[in-house]
Symmetry: C2
Subunit: 363 residues, 2 copies
């Protein structure tokens, strides 16, 4: 398990903004990147090599795998068969087990439950009868979610009373689903953990996350999470990372229940990758989540996660990105634009981190 | 003078590490980069488009100019004819005047002198007789420097006594030169200023610079420069930038003389570009010199230059880069490796910024 030296090539599956930020972080360390995706995207503009290919094109994936020294990914819906095919040629980090667990909400819940971690009560829903039974057990309100391929609130329907069950099933397209019981929480936080190739663990501060229409809107550090529960959040993330023999950045979304329930924190979901709620680490930390993910998958020592500034990260969704000029003029603001051509509604186009350095004295 | 929107293409002349850091900074803002250079280099790996062409190939330069929305450069020895040819097609920022002045040490001295700024005493040297006369006037020790194309201590010879004159002329290859009289200074600082398209000015803190064998070794912020003289350093940089109608980051190296001479600061030389002594801004400031240079040339509002951390930047020269693994493991360190294949002696291979956040309270 030796570290990849500068000059090595990192393979990245996926060409979105997370891939773009991973590629620029890799460049800081002297790496070249080869991005593989089914379409051109923001990561292509900062990659030394690019391949357009389907995620089930075994030949193209194998050719890609032979040209790189390690492979990682920027989204968790990479088909496990694709990741496994690549893994036969070159190391894939995080490993296929993390992908498999996080691609199916039911498998993920069962995995978390098997670790003794608190999760929202839930039941599998494959039919109208299942849903009726689940609602009878879990009560309303509840949330119906597809087991697979959901993101940014897609594939979810809220059920406020049992009469909406049929409509909710239709809304999610009658795909295999789970019903999640309501958690009476105070706020949502996420824990961004990173685990190195030799098991070293590091943690970022836990941001407070707010959503709008199912899409992350803001992440704020520090959050109101009490210090003693920040420790709990770290322990939860560590337990998950160790159970998956994880390598890289792992994001764990959690509901903060505080004294309202038997556990202060309930795990909502995990993402086996760098995460939107950690974008503030680019500007508020010595080493960002992106660089630490690259360090981990390349077998490097992890970087310092210390936070030098308070920060509020706000996503720029759709046309909100058109405010780039006034955002760029704000004191203390770091504007990030992802270079996507079309500012469609609901599309993540960029973000702004508003920083307040934790300065003791100005010069 | 409208700002270039995200999605525009920035042309960069030169493919070295400064071009690489400019290109990744441009990517943060949603820009694409097209790098033009006479050979592949570190910037190529993070550029959307690349062209290999000579800097006097008018046709290739014109084709490049037609594909980009603005052109900037990472080194000041771009031939002025090349920059002027490009400038006939698309804006070149900083403008050719800044290039012309900074390419010739004698022209640069005369320009600075015409602004009433203190510079080291000097004389033109085109022959052995000139040198003898100059030594008689300026005394020894003195430094003989080629007028053109010197960097990292190349094209310089120190003359401790008049008997070394002949050898010094041979050492610099008998090129047109200047002899600079000795300045009895306490330390060297540099001022990193940035001027926007509409004349807006911003300044970074002034680092203390040390050299080894003519090559920058460390830049440290804060420097011991007294606050009242930091103000003077800013005024000097502002006067130069305004006289050149400058757009972008301008570096001004200065000797701090303090009370030893009539002026506390003597201008050593200027660089019409981002500068090695400002690399710490990548990790210690809200917006780095690289992003601010891109903002300026793209007509954006300048970003916040506030420094959130104290920093010591150390260049990794030649084989020093092989310590990347232990450097990466240091708490508070941000390691940068430029991706150059061959760690030749004297070659800038990377740098490390050692940070001490100016934290008022830890969480």
């Amino acid at each position: 398990m030796t570290a990849l030296p500068p000059g090595s090539t990192i393979g990245i599956l996926g060409s979105g903004q997370l891939g773009r930020m991973l590629a620029t972080a890799a460049a800081r360390l002297g790496f070249r990147c080869h991005v593989y995706a089914d379409a051109s995207g923001p990561a292509f503009d900062v990659a030394a090599e690019t391949t357009i290919g389907a995620f089930d094109d075994g030949d193209k994936l194998a050719a890609f795998a032979r040209e790189v020294h390690v492979v990682t990914y920027e989204f968790e819906n990479v088909p496990v068969v694709a990741a496994s095919a690549v893994a036969g040629i070159v190391a894939v980090r995080p490993g296929p087990k993390a992908l498999a667990v996080s691609q199916d909400r039911l498998d993920e819940k069962r995995f978390l439950d098997s670790l003794g971690l608190p999760v929202a009560p839930c039941a599998a829903v494959d039919s109208k009868a299942d849903l009726k039974a689940a609602l009878a057990t879990l009560g309303a309100p509840a949330i119906l979610k597809t087991r697979r391929l959901g993101y940014d609130g897609k594939g979810q329907a809220r059920i406020v009373d049992a009469a909406q069950a049929e409509a909710a099933l239709a809304e999610i397209g009658r795909a295999p689903a789970i019903l999640e019981g309501w958690v009476n929480y105070e706020f949502e936080v996420s824990m961004l953990a990173v685990r190195g190739l030799t098991g070293q663990l590091a943690f970022y501060d836990a941001p407070l996350n707010t959503h709008d229409g199912g899409i992350l809107k803001t992440s704020t550090v520090p959050s109101p999470l009490p210090e003693r529960h920040l420790v709990v959040a770290r322990e939860i993330a560590a337990r998950i990372a160790e159970a998956l023999d994880y390598v890289g950045v792992l994001a764990v979304e959690m509901f903060y229940v505080g004294d309202r329930g038997p556990h202060p924190l309930v795990v909502n979901e995990i993402a086996p990758r760098v995460h939107n709620s950690g974008h503030w680490t680019l500007d508020a930390c010595v080493v960002s989540q992106f660089e630490n993910h690259i360090r981990a998958v390349a077998g490097w020592p992890l970087g310092d996660t210390v936070r030098h500034s308070d920060a509020v990260m706000t996503n720029l969704i759709g046309a909100e990105v058109h405010a780039w000029q006034s955002l760029a003029a704000e004191p203390g603001s770091a504007v990030h634009v992802y270079g996507k051509r079309d500012a469609r509604p609901g599309r993540k186009m960029g973000h702004v981190a508003r920083l307040a350095p934790r300065v003791k004295a100005a010069t």
